[in-house]
Amino acid sequence: MSNLIVVGISDFKIARVPDILVTYALGSCVGTCLYDTSLKLAGLSHILLPESSICKNDNNVMKYADTAIVELVRLMERNGASRYRMIAKIAGGANMFASTGTSVGERNVIAVKNELNKLGIRIVAEDTGKNYGRTVEFNPEDGSMLVKSVLHGIRVL
């Protein structure tokens, strides 16, 4: 029996077969799926903002790209994974309102990519940017990322 493990905003969780990770309605937020291919251990992070430095008295490391990704990697490694076997798939980072100028979504995507690059984790698939929301499901069984949207269909990456 597989369980759906829900990852909220400013949150991350890990899962093993047969469970499935899901995070709902990413707008400008970015969902990062990390996957240890040989252990079949998966992690999913849902960040709201790129940098923790913009808010001084906030200690939720899961909220910001620059603190969340590295913490999720540590959590997965404490559960037996190795960053050298990890791959990443990312989705989200949309600009929901076209007229609002500099997009937080775009900055979120750049920040997540920077972190993954620093950790030496390769991005093998991404569905980012544009102007619509995405729900992401990650299946540790085969490492597939399902991306659902309201008006732009479903993609499997």
Binding site: I9, Y24, A25, G27, C29, C55, Y132, G133, R134, V150
Partner: protein, 206 residues
Amino acid sequence: MIHLENYENLSETQKDVLREIGNIGGGNAATALSSILTGRVNMSLPQLHIINVNEIAELLGGPEKEIVGILVTMTGDIQGMLLFLLDKAFTHMLINVLLGKSIDSFENINDMDLSALKEIGNILAGSYINAISTLTGLRIKLFPPDIAVDMVGAILNYPAAQFGAMGDKVLYIEENFSSGQDCVKSHLLIMPELDSLKIMFDRLGV
């Protein structure tokens, strides 16, 4: 200048003032909507919420609920945003009445329909801004409305990210409008920035 560190420190009087602004603005908005829709539009009593921005989507039917979001940004003496969230039935009713159509699905909404909805956003936002300006004498300008047809959770990322840097709690005044037997619904979230609230309260001496 009054001392106000975060939204949770508001006094009861200050909360009453915000509800009253919601009441007056909402009354204007309901009147405007009634004349556009040529039917009675009812308005609920305004509610004041000070909650974690991540929890708003849950209150509105869950993050994946499909909705139309019309964003109007306030600038001038008051900074903040107004966000109208229209459920499917309310959206269809507005488009059908305004443009003489009979659409019943989000997939069929075209640019002309979106433009008409934005205009409604403009009219509603104007109703509230007039209420705030009249009470406080402050000058508020509105940016042209922007619109998204999407999951409510994704739409709410925008205020979450804007206010996220200031803490997880936001303040919003919520009002629900309904019309007809179907009781179609819309929500309005008025989200002023903390500094702007201080300016408003200062003007009103509360």
